[in-house]
């Protein structure tokens, strides 16, 4: 019997969404020169939230020129301690406006307010706070005695953690003395535009941060722009590959944080209840729109049945619905296109012979929704075991020996993250050594911190974001 909860919606009166937005270039919101307008919608209701600009070539040119001018004339030569103070200001402004930004994020993205409020926003502020402190300590970062900024960074971010990905990109870039042109994702531009206001409130020198909204075409114009010295991209491996190709033969520097198909390995001595919480957090956090999601569950055969039973019981308690409701566990799928992709791959999973299960779950009539789903009887050849679904869909496989677990975990072109659940310390360390993944969570999952480097092996990209390592991408 599911618990009955009274609705506990967070008020949206705290946000003030304008009917339309321009581009943020050189410290000002400006109208598009050659960009066209498009609409951003609330994925939970399909309600149109605002009209924003898909920046065109002249718009991108202006933004890059503004960033270049700010780099040459202001930011590059500003003492690190002064850059630090701007970043601390931004961190404080984010904290001050955290509730508003959390609500706005949930409205534009569809993620539960519990996550935007308790995970995204605290991490955004912490990220600026962390890198602020580096700005006047760069020679101590162990990256050479006299590290220098690279120049203008062109940054393209995804829709799954819109403001957090912005922070991951902008904070280290600015701390290191670069200026940026950032393009938020097509479906989630609003918090980036709110961040532009924060830059104004912080009196950040014009042109140090420029925000150009738009879709893939705008992103391409930005990363291929000859005035850009450094490109940072977070998104799909397919697009990452295309960017790497387009930068071949240039002197531009590139970091990529791409897809994943993480194995979450549960050994027979793992505490089952904790492991189940970790499995749920691993795949259903943020609707599974997480590049490091634990989307392949590897269960040791002897405990597979017990873990699955417990997992299903837990999944039946997950509450899917209004992202602004404080009790919601799983919010809306970010877009119609993403929902179609999740549905397609799930149907393929069934067609290829895996067994599909979802708890009874009433989904809202409007908006984009997908019930939490697991597939059992999945083989390594199945597409749902190989391809990133980027939704609340878990593929369950089994193994007998630790060696088999490692073999299966590494049997993927990706290498972003992995999970290990066992009570045995020496096994954790031995398995962690053998996993080809940039982040290994042992007896935990989906933990993030500004001090902790994040990024992948193999086709999950290159470079690290966060921590001391994250500075390397923005210094020469």
């Amino acid at each position: 019997m599911p618990f009955e909860y009274a609705p506990a919606p967070e008020s949206r009166s705290i946000v003030d969404i304008r009917p339309n937005y321009g581009l943020f270039i050189n410290g000002q919101f400006v109208d598009a020169k050659d960009g066209e307008l498009f609409k951003t919608v609330n994925p939970a209701t399909e309600e149109v939230l605002a009209e924003v600009v898909a920046a065109g070539q002249s718009d991108v040119d202006s933004a890059v020129a503004a960033a270049r001018s700010a780099y040459d004339n202001v930011w590059r030569d500003l003492p690190g301690r002064e850059r630090a103070k701007y970043l601390y200001r931004i961190a404080r402004l984010v904290q001050e406006r955290a509730r508003e930004l959390a609500v706005l994020e949930s409205i534009d993205n569809g993620k539960p307010i519990r996550e935007s409020r308790d995970v995204d926003l605290p991490l955004v502020a912490a990220h600026f706070f962390y890198y602020a402190g580096w700005a006047d300590k760069l020679p101590y970062a162990g990256l050479g005695p006299d590290p220098k900024p690279i120049g203008v960074a062109g940054q393209v971010i995804p829709w799954n953690f819109p403001l957090l990905m912005l922070a991951w990109k902008i904070a280290p870039a600015l701390a290191a003395g670069n200026t940026v042109v950032l393009k938020p994702a097509e479906t989630t531009p609003l918090t980036a535009l709110a961040f532009a206001e924060i830059c104004q409130q912080a009196d950040l020198p014009p042109g140090v941060v420029n925000i150009v909204t738009g879709a893939g075409d705008t992103g391409r114009m930005l990363v291929e722009h000859p005035g850009v010295d450094k490109v940072a991209f977070t998104g799909s491996t397919e697009v990452g590959r295309a960017i790497a190709r387009s930068l071949a033969g240039t002197r531009k520097r590139l970091t990529l944080e791409l897809g994943g198909k993480a194995a979450n390995i549960v050994f027979d001595d793992a505490p089952v209840d904790q492991a189940v919480e970790g499995i749920v957090n691993g795949i259903f956090f943020n609707q599974g729109h997480v590049c490091c999601a634990g989307s392949r569950l590897l269960l040791q055969e002897s405990v597979a049945e017990e873990v699955l039973e417990s997992l299903k019981r837990r999944m039946a308690r997950l509450r899917v619905g209004d992202p602004l409701d404080k009790n919601t566990d799983i919010g809306a799928i970010n877009s119609a296109a993403q929902l179609a992709k999740i549905r397609e791959l799930s149907d393929i999973g069934s067609a290829e012979g895996a067994e599909r299960w979802s708890p009874p779950c009433q989904l809202p009539d409007r908006g984009f929704w997908f019930a939490p789903t697991i597939f059992t009887g999945v083989s390594q050849a199945h597409r749902i075991a190989r391809e990133e679904i980027f939704g609340p869909v878990l593929s369950v496989l089994t193994f007998r020996t630790p060696a088999e677990a490692v073999e299966k975990a590494n049997n993927t072109p990706y290498g972003l993250s992995a999970g290990i659940w066992t009570d045995k310390g020496s096994r954790i360390l031995a398995i962690a050594d053998k996993l080809r993944a940039g982040v290994v969570w042992a007896n935990t999952f989906n933990k993030f911190d500004p001090t902790s480097p994040f990024g992948g092996y193999k086709e999950s990209g290159y470079g690290r974001e966060g921590g001391r390592h994250g500075l390397e991408a923005y210094l020469v």
Binding site: A126, G142, G144, T237, G240, R241, A244, R245, A248, G249, R251, L256, L258, P413, G415, I428, A432, L435, A437, G438, V439, V440, W441, A442, N443, T444, K447, D449, T451, S452, P453, F454, G455, Y457, K458, E459, G461, Y462, R464, G467, R468, H469, E472
Partner: protein, 290 residues
């Protein structure tokens, strides 16, 4: 030694998986000194040789990356010892190749030996310098450590056939990567002689594989090989070819060192700039609790 004695010449072959095979293609090409004198027929490596070399390099990854850093450091130091013992031979070969860089042949060989010693010492220090603990805001143990990326394809510098080669090879293998090296195209002989040094230094077979031949022919196969994790294009002198190789390398997102914008001074302190591009950072989290 009798003045009439006829010298016994060496056959220069490839170095794959710890053995010295000829090219499977049966092809060779003439290598001459800078005066145009015949030096040797070097093996003209083919696509199949590249694939064999990558297979050998991949097979060697587990053992080499799993060796202790102390052990790897000892083996790199052993390479320096072996090279020192054959110093005179390398001086002759570098001199014959006509490309000893700014220094003379002797100083080139000395610098190459010293470079192995320098990198040998990094084996058990790079994790301490490039990795670190992270003070996360919560009750977690959190440690970032560098690990080798895997198989690295290396196009060795064309103008510095020994020192340049050591300068690109040592930083690749010291951290536990394995390498497939395309030797300097027109000056390949010091690379094959270096392979003889490697073969007698307790370096496991397959950790370094050396191919001689045409860069334009073999490098594209290395760039497109899906079991190669990274590419060092330092020795690609043709910018159009370098761009093509980089583009191909994107197919599986190889880590790439582009050809340097300015000529490289192989005598200068190399820093970590050739070491860190072939490292992955792994961060391990674990909760703390009673």
């Amino acid at each position: 030694m009798s003045e009439n004695r006829l010298a016994v010449r060496k056959t220069y072959k490839l170095f794959i998986g710890g053995a010295f095979p000829r090219s499977e293609s049966g092809r060779t090409y003439v290598v001459t000194s800078h005066d145009g004198d015949f030096l040797a027929n070097a093996a003209l490596a083919s696509r199949k040789d590249v694939r064999d070399a990558v297979r050998a390099a991949r097979a060697a990854v587990g053992k080499w990356s799993g060796a202790t850093a102390y052990n790897r450091g000892q083996i790199l130091y052993r390479i320096a010892e072996m090279l020192e013992g054959r110093r005179a031979q390398f001086v002759d070969e570098v001199r014959a190749s006509g490309a000893s860089g700014p220094g003379d042949a002797e100083s080139t060989v000395d610098a190459a030996i010293d470079r192995w010693v320098w990198y040998a010492g990094w084996a058990d220090k790079v994790a301490q310098v490039y990795g670190n603990a992270n003070p996360v805001a919560g009750p977690f143990f959190n440690l970032s450590s560098p690990e080798p990326t895997g198989v690295v394809g290396v196009v060795a510098p064309q103008s510095s056939p020994l020192l340049g080669l050591v300068g690109v090879l040592a930083p690749v293998i010291v951290t536990g990567n394995t390498a497939v090296v395309l030797a300097a195209e027109d000056r390949p002989l010091p690379a094959i002689s270096l392979a003889e040094v490697l073969a007698t230094s307790d370096l496991p077979g397959g950790v370094v594989n050396v191919l001689t031949g045409r860069v334009a022919e073999t490098a594209p196969w290395l760039a497109s090989h899906m079991d190669v994790n990274a590419l060092d294009l330092t020795g690609v002198d043709d910018p159009a070819l370098a761009a093509d190789l980089e583009r191909t390398a994107a197919d599986n997102l190889k880590r790439v060192i582009r050809p340097s914008a300015a000529p490289v001074d192989w005598y200068a302190d190399p820093g970590l700039s050739r070491l860190t591009p072939f490292l992955e950072t792994k961060t391990v989290w674990h909760p703390k609790g009673l």
